[in-house]
């Protein structure tokens, strides 16, 4: 597995401070607690995959890591600097060391693919248009986009091309930390694996650290050095930690935690009945046997 080959192993690497530290992070939206006391350290050079079912707070955690979501409690530190204590300009400057690949690519509709990819370069560098052009072309080559796509608007290209353009844009400033939000959602199996391959290639860039949020087990097994699994706060007892697993992909496969096993094996279990009870529907009339396999895609 490529993950194991590049995992930090030396004593010096182990001793280095984490690039990103999530310290007792809590996020609430109104009365709803989405993240509770999350603590994760992400080491430089590592690829961390955050797994979990829909609605467990994975994307909120990812957005908290770049300061797009303000925490209700706790702290996020990047390279030792607390995001919550930075002013708007300092935070904006720090974000040039991040790359964020959004679930739906989040390309600007009104701009061409080329202008989308060039945006960070125009915003944060003094490069001329003549210097930006070859950088944009090398980025689209890197992610396997045809150059004919450069002049097109995002709505004129396929979902897979949009995702790759979003990745090219995220790579434009040579970021240290790349955050991927559900990178393979909505793609066919082949294009999903193309994206997985790209994530693996990107991590070979020197000094790149990646955090991938996904519910796709294939992506998790393929790209992860380490996997953290979140569980929805609403399904936890008050004293239970929200992180139900933290370890290597091999350890995930052998985990005996029933919550982890249910997710890894993709079983609905009694979830449908529970959901119906929560909605106030009587389970008595239900005819569902609890062993249906949940289609997670």
């Amino acid at each position: 597995m490529p993950a194991a080959a590049t995992a930090p192993s030396s004593a010096a690497d182990q001793a280095a401070p984490p690039l990103l530290q999530v310290d007792r992070l809590t996020v609430r939206f109104g009365p709803h607690e989405v993240l509770r006391d999350i603590a994760i350290d992400v080491d430089a050079g590592e690829t961390l995959v955050i797994l979990g079912e829909s609605g467990c707070g994975k994307t909120v955690l990812l957005k908290s890591m770049i300061g797009l979501v303000r925490p209700s409690g706790g702290d996020v530190r990047f390279d030792g600097r607390s995001l919550g204590r930075l002013g708007d300009r300092q935070l904006a400057h720090l974000r040039t060391r991040y790359g964020f690949v959004f679930q739906g690519a989040a390309l600007f509709d009104s701009a061409s693919i080329a202008d989308n990819i060039a945006f960070p370069l125009r915003e944060h560098t003094r490069l001329s248009e003549g210097e930006i052009r070859p950088i944009v072309e090398s980025l689209v080559d890197e992610v396997g986009l045809p150059r004919s796509a450069l002049a097109k608007k995002p709505v004129e290209v396929s979902g897979g091309m949009r995702k790759r353009a979003g990745l090219a844009r995220a790579l434009a400033l040579d970021p240290q930390l790349i955050l991927y939000d559900e990178p393979t959602t909505g793609l066919d199996p082949i294009m999903s694996d193309v994206i997985n391959e790209l994530i693996l290639r990107v991590r070979r860039r020197p000094g790149v650290t990646s955090v991938v949020v996904t519910h796709d087990m294939h992506t998790a097994r393929k790209v992860a050095d380490r996997i953290v699994m979140l569980y929805p706060v609403a399904r936890l007892r008050p004293d239970e930690p929200q992180i139900v697993f933290d370890g290597t992909p091999d350890r995930l496969a052998s985990s005996r935690d029933p919550r982890v096993r249910q997710f890894v094996e993709g079983r609905a279990g009694g979830r449908l009945d529970e959901l119906r009870e929560e909605q106030g529907l009587a389970a008595a009339g239900g005819r569902d046997d609890g062993d249906d396999t949940e289609d997670s895609r």
Binding site: P31, K63, R95, A106, P120, A234, P238, E278
Partner: protein, 288 residues
């Protein structure tokens, strides 16, 4: 398992009912204060970015084109018809007093002081304000605003300031167009259909409508333009998820802008009338 939700226990009977109503009112008041504070902070941040960093021409021009040039035909058309409608509605009253030649004064004064600026602002709120809210709302829902922030760019600088400047700078031009077309429409209907002598029509207009009236309308339009841009962009920025959220943001942008235009119109009208009295202490001009 889901944790049981904590429930507030109210005292029984009428005291409990009253306590609940007071709590509801308090919640409503806190919500209003928070919303107003949020819009004010949004406005201050927008003003801050206007001063802090110059806008790029290639960002400003498309925004100006959308707000100004594309709104011109509809503002001109509505101005023309409002001028004619004023003539239609006022004529019978004025004729019964034998004062139909004074029709021009009333039509033109109403247009340049009130109807021109309010009409241009209303059309701008409907055509541009709701479109801005929908556009920014869609950008919020599809995470394009988050993408801007994640790349270290400020969304207010990129998305709000060009629209704000577009509304602020171009609404006076649209007001002039509404005034001009309204005056033209009123005259054409009065002269061609009602048969009012053009010399007396214009002579009376000139006597009762002066530069202050015209400038009063134009100065109000700046406030209307700023209000439309800020309210609409704020609704877009704080759009709820989904198509329903975008639709609601667009609708609320128009409704709230329109209400704000009317409220501003009242208070600016009172203030500017005081200013007129200060400049001309001999009292108001007598129309009739």
């Amino acid at each position: 398992m889901p944790a049981p939700a904590a429930t507030a226990v109210s005292p029984p009977g009428i005291a409990g009912w009253l306590a609940d109503r007071v709590a509801d009112l308090g919640e409503l008041a806190i919500g209003w204060v928070a919303s107003i504070g949020d819009v004010v902070l949004f406005a201050l941040r927008t003003l801050g970015w206007i001063v802090a960093r110059r806008q790029r021409r290639e960002v400003l021009l498309p925004s100006f084109y959308q707000i100004g040039v594309m709104s011109l035909p509809v503002v001109a058309l509505t101005g023309l018809f409002i001028g004619m409608v004023l003539a239609v509605q006022s004529y019978a009253q004025f004729k019964s007093l034998g004062l139909e030649t004074r029709l021009g004064s009333v039509i033109n004064l109403s247009l340049v002081r009130e109807l021109g600026p309010v009409l241009a602002a209303t059309m701008l709120a409907g055509r541009v304000g709701s479109a801005m809210a929908a556009e920014l709302g869609t950008m919020r829902v599809t995470e394009q605003i988050d993408a801007l922030e994640s790349m270290g760019a400020n969304p207010i600088y990129y998305l709000v300031v060009p629209r704000f400047l577009g509304c602020l700078v171009l609404i006076p031009s649209l007001t002039v167009m509404a005034d001009f077309m309204g005056v033209l429409g009123g005259y054409l209907y009065s002269h061609l259909v009602l048969g009012i002598d053009y010399h007396h029509y214009w002579e009376n207009s000139r006597a009762y409508v002066d530069a202050f009236d015209f400038l009063m309308g134009i100065s109000k339009s700046f406030f209307f333009g700023a209000a439309i841009a800020l309210v609409s962009c704020h609704h877009g920025f704080h759009c709820a998820p989904g198509a329903e959220g975008v639709g609601r943001a667009a609708t609320n942008a128009f409704v709230h802008s329109f209400v704000l235009i009317l409220v501003l119109d009242l208070f600016l009208g009172i203030g500017l009338n005081h200013l007129h009295d200060f400049i001309h202490p001999d009292g108001p001009r007598r129309l009739l």
